[in-house]
């Protein structure tokens, strides 16, 4: 139906404050360039936000002023953006929500997401196996958010049921930040004389964790598992680094996938599948090449 009306697609994402969101911003911009070539009828407006309320403002502006008819949004947080997105949907904007599901699914037309519980579960399964089913693990969590809760909860649940002899010593916040992870790891090392493995749960934090271990010259830690698929980490997996035997994906490129799916469907006036889940995959030496994007900042 909408062949002649131009497709104005607003893309709203959190601003780049750490590696993963940096990757999101990068992939969104790349995809926009790409898609604009492929679909001359489509126009993309990308906005980044520093907080949920700023993001709510932004999508309001995208509608009132930029007159978007499709919104692809990676919400800063789920709950606070549910109403604003629902509001836009009510005004007739086609809403595609990425990664962080809204608390009310009727507020969205389509959902493209990574798999947070899967992320935790895959990590737990790999670590349990790698450790031979026993040993001590410390966890670095991200920021206090629903995502983080889902990952950690499912990690702990999987570990408990499948590898009950793996002991989780502590889980403190590293804020998805290299420096904070460095400090927390330093203190873990002071506190626990024997740690077998670290679930850094994020590749940025893994960087800090590795440095802290290196500095303390501790040899008890056999490996560190990060997550998200940062290129440096994938490279180390590819190169067979002993400390980084694997990674678990949570690709920031999912924003690009969502934009592609949305543009393809909307330019033909079609609907997207209600839900597209991009699974979290275990990256090992064997398949690492597939996940390596040397040009991405992340």
């Amino acid at each position: 139906a909408g062949q002649s009306t131009p497709l104005v697609i607003g893309v709203s994402i959190p601003s780049a404050t750490h590696g993963w969101t940096g990757g999101v911003v990068y992939h969104a911009n790349e995809a926009a360039k790409d898609l604009a070539k492929k679909y001359p009828n489509a126009r993309f407006i990308i906005k980044t936000a520093n907080s949920p309320s700023e993001q709510a403002n932004q999508i309001q502006d995208l509608y009132t002023v930029n007159k978007i008819n499709t919104l692809v949004i990676l919400p800063f947080e789920s709950a606070p953006l549910t109403r604003p997105v629902a509001n836009l949907k009510k005004q007739g904007v086609y809403t595609v929500v990425v990664d962080r599901g809204l608390t009310d699914t009727s507020a969205q037309d389509a959902y493209v997401a990574g798999d947070n519980p899967g992320f935790g579960k895959v990590a737990a399964q790999f670590m349990g196996k790698q450790m031979g089913g026993k040993g001590n693990v410390v966890i670095l969590r991200g920021l206090p958010t629903v995502i983080d809760n889902q990952r950690v909860d499912s990690f702990e649940a999987a570990m408990k049921t499948q590898y009950p002899n793996v002991k989780i010593l502590d889980k403190k916040f590293g804020n998805w930040n290299r420096d904070d992870a460095f400090k927390v790891m330093q203190d873990y090392l002071t506190r626990y004389p024997k740690i077998d493995a670290v679930w850094a749960s994020d590749d940025d934090m893994a960087v800090g964790v590795l440095k802290a271990i290196q500095q303390a010259k501790r040899t008890d830690i056999k490996f560190v598992l990060g997550g998200a698929g940062m290129k440096d980490m994938i490279k180390r997996v590819m190169d067979g680094d002993k400390m980084i035997p694997a990674d678990v994906t949570y690709p920031p490129a999912m924003i690009a996938d969502a934009m592609r799916l949305a543009t393809a469907a909307r330019s033909k006036g079609q609907k997207m599948p209600a839900s597209t889940i991009i699974p979290s995959v275990l990256v090992t030496k064997a398949n690492a090449k597939q996940f390596y994007y040397p040009n991405s900042p992340f």
Partner: protein
């Protein structure tokens, strides 16, 4: 005493034009920005956009009005964003828990609002008491509670979000989304708060005392002003303003999370200072604060409406504009 005055006292003269332009600096900045924005995107001047901008300015604007009192009295409050988050969270939890007894109607919402006001006032009372009676630097006290309040909210929400019950949310939503005679309610409340704030600061004893304390606390003490009480009251007032802003904010997003109100303190303080109130206290103006708050939101809005700069540079543009506006009204130092 009845010596005849040797020199007839001349009537008060208006300050000269340059000084006036200086005083109007932020307004000038806002007008320039609006002209620029309209030329970049004519939709800027649309009623719906202007109303969006003003509605958004309402939150930090209302807080900034309270902050003006604190700053004029010589204090500072870094915790307002955290307090807003904590207030929103507690308010939602309590309203949700009241549904079984009070039902999901107006009475629950009213109780929620009262509780929000009470929390704000109590937090202000605690700040004021520690600062004025405990004689601790306001910067430190409110830096401490900045962490404290947000932490407690994170604890209450278990790191996630606290969401308002759907039915309640529906009932409550007109407080943010509704309008009276075409004017959105948050704008009306903002205008009311600003008006009352302006009257209070410039036309009441309390406001005069606040200025006197900020200008010279010692002199105020010697003039039999109850410095402790007035200072505590400024923090209570600010707490109440935070509560009012929160009451308007909750229906907008229907939830509170550890990131609610993040950096509002910087925005509120910036609005006050851009508006021409000196950080060291002694004097200030509410209308300046209002203009400052609107200006800050407008910069963001203009950035959203246009694609002049890389998204990475948003904060850079904001920073530069803020400095330029401050420059326009600078130098009333003697």
């Amino acid at each position: 005493m009845s010596t005849p005055t040797s020199e007839a006292v001349r009537p008060a003269k208006r300050p000269n034009i340059l000084a006036r332009i200086g005083a109007l600096g932020p307004l000038l900045g806002l007008i320039l920005l609006a002209i620029l924005a309209t030329s970049l995107n004519s939709d800027f001047a649309s009623i719906s956009n202007v109303s969006n901008v003003l509605t958004r300015a309402a939150f930090t604007g209302i807080i900034a009005v309270g902050m003006t009192f604190v700053i004029v009295s010589g204090g500072i409050d870094l915790s307002v964003g955290s307090l807003a988050a904590l207030t929103a969270g507690s308010m939602i939890l309590i309203m949700n828990s009241l549904i079984p007894t009070l039902g999901s109607g107006t009475s629950t919402i009213l109780v929620g609002m009262l509780i929000a006001l009470a929390i704000g006032a109590l937090a202000g009372l605690a700040h004021g008491t520690l600062i004025a009676r405990g004689r601790i630097e306001p910067f430190i006290v409110t830096l401490g509670t900045l962490g404290l309040f947000r932490s407690v909210l994170t604890y209450l929400s278990n790191g996630g979000a606290i969401s308002l019950n759907d039915t309640l949310s529906e009932k409550y939503s007109p407080v943010y989304y509704g309008s009276v005679l075409g004017v959105p309610i948050p704008i009306l409340v903002f205008a009311l708060v600003a008006l009352l704030g302006g009257l209070l600061l410039n036309r009441t004893r309390y406001g005069r005392y606040v200025q006197a304390i900020g200008s010279n606390e010692q002199v105020a003490r010697y003039a039999a002003i109850d410095v402790t009480r007035i200072k505590i009251l400024t923090y209570v007032l600010l707490g109440v303003c935070v509560a009012i802003a929160t009451i308007l904010y909750v229906p907008r997003l229907g939830s509170a999370s550890p990131s609610t109100g993040l950096l509002w303190e910087l925005e509120a303080i910036a609005a006050v200072i851009i508006g021409g109130t000196a950080l060291k206290g002694g004097s200030g103006r509410i209308w300046g604060t209002v203009v400052g708050a609107i200006l800050l939101v407008t910069i963001e809005n203009v950035l959203n409406l246009t694609n002049l700069f890389s998204v990475y540079l948003n904060a850079a543009v904001q920073g530069v504009v803020i400095i330029i506006v401050a420059f326009l009204q600078r130098g009333r130092r003697t």
